[in-house]
Amino acid sequence: MDELKSMQQDLSSIRNLMERSNKFISLSGLSGILAGIYALGGAVYSYFILYYPNSPFGYRIKYVNDVTILNKLIIAAAVVLLLSISSAILLSYKKAAKNGESLLNKNSKILFISFCVPLFSGGLFTLVLLFRGYLGIVAPATLLFYGLALINASNATLSEIKGLGYLQISLGLISALLPGYGLLLWATGFGVIHIIYGALMYQKYDK
């Protein structure tokens, strides 16, 4: 019977290695929660710039094409992005160290590149259109490209990331149809959904 047990161990170690050898599995769920919080912070800040004291469902009191306001919003978005990416890297580094995986291996590089290429091409595309005056493009385009980046990266990491990608793409398309609700849908996608997803991943993998 001992032999049988060792065979079962063999099979499970094979399965485990096949999974681990081509994926970076130390992605931190906690960093998803943090990214959501940063995004909500950014959204609240933008709300105060654009709508306050009206409700976010109501009319904007400021025009976004005012250059100083536009700059403030872009800086806020850049801060959210930088904080999110650096938290993800830092927390994944810690988790990888715990798992005995190194942060800079073949799989993490593939993950990073497959995530960054769609994300930054989408980001630059959005910026170009923004400066040409297509202000309504921001929420749908950032959600769409972020979703595509997630789906592209999902093969190189935990498979749940794919679902998150589909959700972001759906929200992006919805926000393209509902131009007035860009900020709200953006806050839902980057904020609320990140926090929920991050918490689920944390429950499943980090504990």
Binding site: L4, M7, Q8, D10, L11, S13, I14, L17, M18, R20, S21, N22, G100, E101, S102, N105, K106
Partner: protein, 99 residues
Amino acid sequence: MKNPLAKFDKAFEHKTRLHIMSVLMVNEHYEFNALKELLQVTDGNLATQIKALEKEEYIEIIKGYTGKKPNTKYKATKLGKAAFNKHLQALENIINMQK
């Protein structure tokens, strides 16, 4: 009844060899140092087991360079993949028979 153990591949008796082969089944190729990290084995042990698999012609070596540093990658051969699948099948058969 035929002895199911007959299908067992002696080359995979050693755990590290089995593990190396598992990795090469799902990756086009894998580097020496990456394998070492993933399997948590010593240089010497890994080199020995790789040599054994190479002798069976289950894996092949791809020598290359990253910049100026030489790096060695390994790749499973057709023969190796077939042998591994047969070995897995044998493992499964035995486990199923015990149920």
